[in-house]
Amino acid sequence: MSDEDSKDPKESGRRHFLETVTGVVAGAGVCGAAWPFISSMNPTTDVLAKSTSEVELGDIAVGETKTVDWQGKPVFILHRTPEQISEVRNDQSAQTKDPEQDEKRVQKPQWLVVVGLCTHLGCVPLRKDKGWLCPCHGSFYDDSGRVLRGPAPKNLILPPYEFLSDNKILIGKVEEQS
């Protein structure tokens, strides 16, 4: 680029415009070309296809828990006794940290379905006589999966699920299955 060009304001204005347009078009092209590469790092279609899990509930006795795999994460299914249900529905201490009614956390009172990962840093809590205790940093959850004490900020996550029949549930994005 010689100096003569830039001395003429009209010429340099045109040049500046052309440079900007070239830069914008090239930038858009690079972004477009980069997208397939970025997208290739997302979950592949076979992983997405496995994103739901069907679970038989018939073999879980009253008072027992079962841990099932959903998208590589543990899901706790607790078959609650009437005493456990009435306890979590009357327990006022659960209102402290992340207040939530037990009624809103279950579809059927006897079945609790929660993602078994501590909401603090993702360890798997251990089943105790009553509730769950996270071995990593001592967070404690009740039989509704609500955090009672410890560093966990939130209650155990509820996965999307639906009852296919009285004894069978489907965990995962239910609406996409139909």
Partner: protein, 410 residues
């Protein structure tokens, strides 16, 4: 912004580097589009590194998983088909660009002093590129991958005394197997590091001796123009043309460069009816097949690749301008290109009858051209001196500002 730049410049010669070696880099003003191919080779290198990186995130270098992981990439990874086809087409594009780059160097005599080191680093890059392509071809673990690797590793049986031991060592087993696949994957990933390193040396050498040009005579300083914007624009235009051709193959004919047999998983118990290497190895493969002795064939094939390095010694003419001002050398150049094409064809078809003879004749011509060059080039120099150089050359050489001096007779 300029404050930050000053801060950096006080500690690292950033602005100076950009001005001297990028924007302001003095470039002969008469470069033709044949000088685009070095830049294009660099572009394809980046393309291969990037697409290869993303493929490696999904590929599994394990004999029992490799073939299926390629299918996984093709069917289930988002845009996996696109990235794989970019990479497989990119391999062919790389060789096409490099062959043209070399042909330009041969035609215009760019390998001559003071650019011998450019030519030799280029020769090293060609060998690294061939090795990388060969390692990569095994990875899909199809029939052609498997038997191609089988045949090429078997060439090392020609080693005197230790032939069998060397082949077993190279394969990590008594046949191509899981160990071979894993080490080929590692080497396919590692060799590009060597390529990038050697490319940097190639470029440092280039910026020392500067670009050659179609006249073959180093131009006076006033006949050089800054790289930017003149050659950035020219290179980018060439890149656009290249990408049109490249994208045609990627999107409309992606299997053009892939042998159909490679879509069958590797089977160590069954060789495909007709084995062919990738097109870029065909001329050398034809030379290998033309010689009816294992050791002789291997030596000839190796020599046919590395003989280019001898060009600065074989070409004894001092007439500037490469083939442009040297009619005899020009004829030799075109015979060589034709011969290379014939060998490519012979390498691609099953050996039979007259084709074997044609292959042998072409192999003979291939080496004869190199062997006769010292004598032909010297005779041509004498003849041209007697006849007088073209007026254009005389004028360029006489101009006081040209750094080149050449007087007939020597």
């Amino acid at each position: 912004m300029s404050k930050l730049l000053n801060w950096v410049d006080a500690r690292f010669p950033l602005s100076e580097f950009v001005k001297q070696d990028l924007t302001g880099y003095p470039t002969p003003r008469n470069l033709s589009y044949w000088w685009n191919f070095g830049f294009l080779a660099g572009f394809v290198l980046v393309l291969q590194v990037v697409s290869g990186l993303f493929l490696a995130m999904h590929y599994k270098p394990d004999a029992s998983l490799a073939f299926e992981s390629i299918e996984h990439i093709m069917r289930e990874v988002n845009y996996g088909w696109l990235i794989r086809y970019i990479h497989s087409t990119g391999a062919s594009a790389f060789f096409a660009v490099i062959f043209i780059h070399m042909a330009r160097t041969l035609y215009y005599g760019s390998y001559r002093a003071p650019r011998e080191l450019m030519w030799w680093t280029g020769q090293g890059l060609l060998l690294l590129l061939m090795a990388t392509a060969f390692f990569g071809y095994l990875l899909p673990w199809g029939q052609m991958s498997y038997w191609g690797a089988q045949v090429i590793t078997n060439l090392f049986r020609a080693t005197p005394f230790f032939g069998d031991e060397i082949v077993i060592w190279l394969r990590g087993g008594f046949s191509i197997g899981d160990a071979t696949l894993t080490r080929f994957f590692v080497l396919h990933y590692f060799f590009p590091f060597l390529i990038i390193g050697l490319v940097l040396i190639h470029l440092v050498a280039l910026h020392t001796v500067k670009s050659s040009n179609p006249s073959g005579i180093n131009l006076a300083a006033k006949d050089n123009i800054p790289f930017h914007p003149y050659f950035t624009a020219k290179d980018l235009y060439g890149l656009g043309v290249f990408l049109i051709v490249f994208c045609f193959f990627v999107f409309f004919s992606p299997e053009f460069f892939i042998e159909a047999d490679n879509n069958i998983p590797a089977n160590p118990l069954k060789t495909p009816a007709h084995i062919v290497p990738e097109w870029y190895f065909l001329p050398f493969y034809a030379i290998l097949r033309s010689i009816p002795d294992l050791l002789g064939g291997v030596v000839a094939m190796g020599l046919s690749v590395v003989i280019f390095a001898a060009m600065p010694f074989l070409d004894r003419s001092h007439i500037p301008g490469g083939a442009r001002y040297r009619p005899v050398y020009r004829i030799l150049f075109y015979i060589f290109v034709l011969d290379f094409a014939v060998l490519t064809y012979v390498g691609a078809v099953p050996p039979s009858g007259s084709l074997v003879v044609i292959g042998q004749v072409a192999t003979f011509i291939y080496f004869a051209l190199f062997a006769l060059l010292p004598f032909i080039s010297k005779a041509e120099e004498k003849w041209l001196c007697k006849r007088g150089l073209p007026a254009e050359v005389e004028e360029l050489l006489k101009s006081k500002s040209s750094p080149d001096k050449f007087n007939c007779p020597l």
